[in-house]
């Protein structure tokens, strides 16, 4: 691209030069996207190969030799189904709390004047800047004191009213015209009724963006769950996955490399697919969510 001006192509007439630049540009982008998609595509396809084939010919894909062996073995040997269940429960509880309480608090910050508002909003901003890893030790000790280790409360409650979500929803709700709220008041709407029946319907696109971002964050969350939910019963999907990786790097005695590799690819594929499907279905909301989410930090 940048060398075009001095390359021999520069001497070509304008039309062909443009076409050549366009072809080069598309070739570059196709190559790059190929590299970006390759690891995921390779894993999804390899998961259907027999363990022996995976390690013998990592680059050969023969559809006639495809098998569900790895998936069946993973479902039998690893508590991946229970990992999915735990993650689903946490998603519903924690996601539900974030999607309800964050717009509610955002509403208060955007549309009300009350004493202590700036102090409380300052707290939101401080929470936004705190690295997760700092709170890990004291939170773990707090959970031990409360007897909450390996419980849903511990997985759900810390971070359930996400500061970033409040910050974002405050911005979204600020754009809702005051006249709309006043009109509802005149009609005898209660303050909560205004939030529920006027504000929420108006900001639905913003909430949708928050929804996908929240799902992605909770589904992929790893650091806190691995510290607090280590038992087989409470391990989230990501924690179950990470124990598989430790098997492959030598902690599980007696399992051969090929078998574990097959299990690992099958398990990773199972974990990848739900989020990929969701992403492809809701691209627009995802990208809006990611963009808004980048303000964090």
């Amino acid at each position: 691209m940048t060398t075009l001006a001095t390359s021999p192509a520069a001497r070509l007439p304008r039309g062909p030069r443009r076409r050549r630049a366009r072809i080069l540009r598309n070739a570059f982008l196709l190559l790059l996207t190929g590299l970006f998609l390759a690891p995921v595509g390779w894993a999804l396809l390899s998961a259907f190969k027999t363990p022996v084939d995976i390690i013998r010919d990592p680059l050969v894909f023969d559809p006639t030799g495809f098998t569900l062996e790895n998936f069946l073995r993973v479902l039998r040997d690893v508590p991946i189904a229970s990992g999915f269940l735990t993650t689903a429960i946490v998603l519903v509880l924690k996601g539900g709390m974030t999607l309800f309480f964050a717009p509610l608090a955002g509403f208060a910050f955007a549309k009300y004047e009350f004493r202590g508002k700036s102090v409380i909003f300052g707290a939101v901003l401080v929470t936004l800047m705190l690295p997760t890893i700092v709170l890990i030790i004291p939170l773990l000790l707090e959970m031990k004191e409360l007897g909450w280790v390996d419980t849903y409360q511990a997985l759900v409650l810390p971070g359930s009213v996400d500061a970033f979500a409040i910050f974002w929803m405050r911005q979204v709700i600020s754009a809702v015209p005051d006249e709309l709220l006043d009109a509802a008041r005149v009609d005898g709407c209660s303050e909560f009724g205004i939030f529920w029946r006027v504000v929420l319907p108006v900001i639905r696109p913003g909430v949708a963006g928050l929804g996908v971002l929240t799902i992605m964050n909770i589904y992929n969350d790893f650091v806190w769950p691995v510290v607090i939910a280590n038992s087989d019963r409470m391990a989230t999907l990501q924690v179950v996955l990470s124990t598989l990786a430790q098997n492959i790097t030598g902690n599980r005695i007696g399992a051969d490399y090929a078998t574990v590799t097959g299990e690992l690819l099958a398990a990773s594929s199972l974990a990848l697919v739900p989020l990929l499907v969701l992403f492809i279905a809701l691209q627009k909301q995802f990208i809006a969510g990611i963009l808004a989410g980048s303000v964090k930090g």
Binding site: M1, T2, A5, A21, L29, T33, F36, P39, V40, W42, I54, I55, R56, P58, L59, F101, F107, A108, F109, K117, I120, A123, V124, P131, I133, V134, L135, I137, P138, L141, E142, P158, G159, V161, I166, D182, V186, E191, N220, F222, V223, S242, A245, Q246, I248, T249, T261, L264, L265, A267, A271, L272, L275, L276, F279, I287, I290, L291, S294, G297
Partner: protein
């Protein structure tokens, strides 16, 4: 319009009287869930960490006050500095390359007439959306020295197998590649939003003046994208210095500690039940992260 305003003017005093109490109280009730969670799971733990960082508590038994002992221990400890140095090295491997790549891709994708534009955009984000643990595991398999696909590809062109994850020389670049692969699409999206704010007439004027595309990139795009770029650098710097899950899953900090990042070193204090030191380490990391952010924020502030 006039109808409704007069109606409202008449109705307002009466309505306000009836709901006066709730309107004053409502915002407090609305922010209460956040405040409760904040006090219970942020303020309390933070104060607890601060106190803990001045003791030698190991999780059981009585805690002994050691003053600044944990801090001076860490600041004179080679492992602590090695963690920071490893994070710094990863930063050097990741951030400059990522910014160059992301700018090129974003500029190419900003062309509305580009065919397959939607496909490219989605393809670059796919890695960002996939669960880190899943992809970290795929990395382990792909980069395996004996059976990995990467060494198979390299073998096709006659390059002997490389110990990507088993030699300290290659472990960091392999980890950096994982991070680069996973987050570049995210930076591209941020840069694209920055590019869309640039006025198209600037390029039209440059076209008329006969400026080449590369000249336009350097003289118009990059300067106007400066703030977005710096913002991206800040985000990635914070992310790299807090990097934890990638080395935790892929290398467990090895080989020979070459991928023990600052975050992983902190975690080791927990696994050794050295909680006082861990708490002090947390605060040192917070100070570093905040200092880095503030430094970058100063840079981001417009000069004029």
């Amino acid at each position: 319009m006039t109808m409704s305003t007069t109606l409202r003017a008449r109705a307002l005093p009466r309505a306000r009287k009836g709901i006066f109490l709730t309107r004053t109280l409502a915002p407090y009730l609305f922010v209460l869930p956040f405040v409760a969670v904040f006090v219970a799971f942020s303020v309390y733990p933070l104060l607890f960490t601060l106190r803990l960082s001045f003791t030698n508590w190991r999780g059981i038994g009585p805690a002994e006050w050691v003053g600044l002992g944990n801090y001076s221990y860490l600041l004179t400890n080679a492992g602590f500095w090695q963690g920071l140095a490893n994070s710094g090295a990863l930063w050097l491997l990741i951030v400059p390359a990522q910014m160059v790549l992301a700018v090129i891709v974003a500029v190419l994708l900003n062309d509305m007439k580009l065919r397959l534009r939607g496909f490219y955009r989605v393809a670059f984000i796919v890695p960002f959306v996939t669960p880190l643990v899943a992809i970290a595991q795929i990395w382990i398999v792909l980069f395996d020295q004996n059976y990995g696909a990467i060494n198979s590809v390299l073998g096709l062109i006659g390059i002997p197998p490389i110990g990507w994850l088993t030699t300290s020389a290659w472990a960091k670049p392999t980890l950096a590649l994982l991070f680069l692969w996973k987050t570049t699409g995210f930076i591209v999206i941020i840069l694209l939003s920055g590019l869309q704010a640039i006025d198209d007439t600037l390029y039209e004027a440059a076209d008329l003046d006969g400026a080449s595309r590369s000249r336009q990139l350097w003289s118009i795009t990059v300067p106007l994208l400066r703030r977005t770029l710096l913002f991206s650098v800040v985000l990635q710097t914070l992310a790299v210095f807090q990097m934890f899950a990638e080395p935790f899953v892929v290398t467990q900090g090895g080989p020979y500690g070459s991928t023990t990042t600052a975050g992983l070193y902190l975690y080791d204090n927990i696994t050794r039940a050295d909680l006082g030191t861990g708490a002090a380490n947390s605060f040192l990391l917070v100070i570093l992260v905040l200092a880095l952010s503030l430094g970058f924020v100063r840079l981001l502030r417009p000069k004029d």
